[in-house]
């Protein structure tokens, strides 16, 4: 599904290198967790996957379903099935959430050769997805993410993910800022999306999320490199001992 090969990326503006040779692969249906200390480059990796222009890939490649996506813009990557749930979803004044969902869903359907959804069908799907996430429809009348609480923003990201049905979901700290009930609801939402041909990458600091979303593999990112990979036990070990030991090994 996803293959990241010796990926180097730097901040376009000042040339600071953030990713220094990331290698990672995710199989179809696989649930992968990425952990690592603050500032190690996890969000940067997610942005580079999504195609954010603030970063420049200087070396290596990203293959999605066997093809390089480096030349694709963010919209093309999304249409190909990649979805990033942002660590800090942006507030976009003036763009009504419902209108945005309509445009996004139909843009992706069009790119995938499907018919546009008519308003009633679209509303039905949105309502059903919002219900499952225990979200109030009245929120969707507001401008996108504007004034949403931290937890509401995270739910809104998952709502979009459910509606857009991506093949690869990247969740950047979707668990932080969620209360315990919301964490359960969101995790159920992610688990419901699991299927043999859909992969999920969760970036998290906490074992708590991984109790709900049990990963098949765990990778530790440090200073822009994957320094350790393992199975779900690796996360438990980190929870107990922190990164100190690992970082020492890597240094």
């Amino acid at each position: 599904m996803l293959e990241i090969k010796n990926l180097h990326a730097r901040i376009a503006e000042d040339g600071t290198e953030i990713l220094r040779g990331v290698n990672l692969s995710v199989k179809p249906g696989e649930m992968t967790a990425i952990m690592g200390p603050n500032g190690s480059g996890k969000s940067t990796l997610s942005y580079v996957l999504a195609g954010r222009e603030d970063y420049e890939v200087t070396e290596g490649d990203i293959l999605f379903n066997g093809e390089s996506i480096l030349e694709m813009d963010p919209a093309e990557r999304a249409a190909a099935g990649l979805f990033l749930a942002f660590q800090y979803p942006m507030e976009i004044p003036g763009v009504a959430t419902m209108e945005f969902l309509k445009v996004a869903m139909n843009a992706q359907r069009k790119a995938r050769g499907l018919d546009e959804l008519k308003i009633p069908e679209l509303m039905k799907r949105v309502r059903a997805a919002a219900d499952e996430l225990d979200m109030d429809m009245s929120m969707l009348k507001r401008p996108l993410n504007v004034g949403f609480s931290g937890g509401e923003k995270k739910r809104a990201e998952i709502l979009q993910m459910k509606l857009l049905e991506p093949a690869l979901c990247v969740l950047d700290e979707t668990d932080s800022g969620l209360d315990i009930d919301a964490l359960k609801i969101v995790s159920d939402g992610v688990n419901a999306l699991r299927s043999p041909d859909r992969s999920v990458v969760v970036i998290t600091h906490y074992q708590r999320l991984l109790d709900y979303i049990v990963p098949d593999s765990v990778h530790v990112l440090y200073k822009g490199r994957v320094i350790k990979s393992g199975e779900k036990e690796l996360a438990q070990e980190l929870e107990k001992n922190g990164y100190a030991g690992l970082v020492g090994e890597a240094a």
Binding site: A50, G51, R52, E53, D54, D73, P74, A75, R77, A78, A79, F83, L84, F86, P89, M90, I92, P93, G94, V95, E99, F100, V103, A104, A107, Q108, A111, P143, Q160, L164
Partner: protein, 421 residues
């Protein structure tokens, strides 16, 4: 010898003077109208204002009005579909008021008749030496419509003043009186098919307690020059929302002259300027808070692309006894190209001491983070930009609270963006 006569006249100045010499005496009007026309012509003889004239500093009319086409009596314009379906359309076709049956709910007369009987004379003429727009219009205006909306009337159907040009020169006049406590929506549409010179001057009197929404939608073809002016008096506890949308023309000067005359009156100016190509568009407002407890807000949203340039001059004058005046002015520009520009010149002249006045102007570009977020959801770049541009201006449109108006304006905005985004 004064300085002006030493400067060589421009082709446009010559053309205006010659046109008046040719047509001046054959235009409709009583003796008092003729006197006003001559007065206007005398101002034109002094030449068009250049950037050295403060009121025209950002719009050097002498340079920008590079040519003036001759009148074209053979050109014929046809009535267009109204902006809002079902409106009462009052067409002025290449300067001539069309025949319409008496509308329901208000009295209507043609400006030609009101020039002939002299009753329109007081509205003609430049009010001062900077009033070139009214001078050009007063010299030549021959027709238009005058509306009289009786006290207490509630016009549920919008009235569309449709000024359609087909080329040459077109000079149109509108006048509207809205009676005490009456309610009306009026749409002034400025459009056409040719590279004409158009001037259109309106007078609006909003009676005590009346509530009026007046829209000026200037959608001229790219090669036209448009000089617009609206003069307003607002009565006691009356409310006017003036919405100005400029889209086309290579040169636009839209003047808004408002006197908040009655205590407790309220004025809202909302503007959307969609500027593309090499257009130069100037919205100039002079607002007098002349009575106590008057309120005004002015919000302009400009989208500028290509090499377009925009100007907003907002002058607010608060008279000595206009205590408790509340005025807020803001002008925000979204620049879509490096070569476009927008100049904002706020000017507050406050003679009262107990007032709250503020202003602000910003120029921004499309937020790259926002664009990324939308694109990351599969929305292609052009559509994503369109959503953000719409978001930028939508606020001032949606605030209009008239669903049909909002829909029509948003549709026009979408069409503009599809062509120029």
């Amino acid at each position: 010898m004064n300085v002006q006569t030493q400067i060589k006249r421009t082709a446009a100045e010559d053309a205006l003077i010659e046109a008046f010499a040719e047509r001046g005496t054959s235009l409709p009007g009583s003796a008092s109208v003729a006197e006003k026309r001559n007065q206007a012509a005398r101002l034109l003889e002094q030449g068009l204002p250049s950037r050295k004239v403060e009121a025209w500093h950002y719009t050097d009319l002498r340079r920008l009005l590079s040519s003036v086409p001759a009148f074209d009596p053979t050109a014929t314009a046809s009535q267009k579909e109204p902006l809002i379906a079902g409106s009462t359309v009052l067409p002025v076709l290449n300067g001539v008021a069309g025949a319409v049956k008496a509308p329901e709910g208000f009295a209507l007369s043609s400006v030609a008749d009101k020039l002939a009987d002299g009753s329109l004379a007081p509205l003609l003429g430049p009010v001062d030496k900077d009033d070139t727009v009214s001078a050009i219009n007063s010299a030549f205006a021959a027709d238009g419509f005058a509306l009289d909306i009786p006290a207490g009337a509630r016009l549920d159907i919008p009235v569309e003043l449709q000024n359609v040009q087909a080329g040459g020169q077109v000079h149109t006049r509108f006048a509207a009186r809205v009676g005490e406590g009456a309610n009306a929506t009026v749409i002034e549409r400025q459009m056409g098919d040719a590279d004409a010179l158009v001037s259109s001057v309106s007078h609006l009197e909003v009676g005590d307690g009346a509530d009026v929404l007046w829209l000026i939608v200037q959608d001229q073809p790219e090669g036209a020059s448009h000089l617009g002016q609206i003069n307003v008096r607002i009565g006691k506890n009356a409310k006017l929302t003036l919405f100005v949308m400029n889209i086309g023309a290579k040169l636009t000067r839209q003047e808004v002259r408002v006197v908040a005359e009655g205590e407790g009156s309220e004025f809202r100016l909302r503007g959307v300027n969609l500027l593309s190509g090499q257009t130069h568009c100037d919205v100039t407002m002079i607002l007098d808070h002349a009575a106590p407890a008057t309120a005004s807000t002015e919000i302009l949203r400009n989208v500028v692309t290509d090499k377009a340039e925009g100007v907003f001059q907002g002058q607010i004058r608060v008279a000595r006894d206009a205590q408790k005046t509340d005025a807020k002015m803001s002008c925000n520009t979204l620049l879509l190209s490096d070569e476009g520009s927008f100049s904002a010149k706020p000017e507050l002249e406050i003679f009262a001491d107990d007032v709250a006045c503020g202003h602000g102007a910003t120029v921004t570009e499309i937020e790259q983070d926002h664009l990324f977020y939308l694109m990351a959801r599969g929305i292609d770049e052009k559509t994503a930009r369109g959503l953000l541009v719409k978001a930028f201006v939508a606020e001032v449109i949606e605030e209009l609270e008239n669903e049909a108006v909002v829909e029509a304006l948003e549709a026009r905005l979408d069409a503009w963006f599809a062509e120029h985004g």
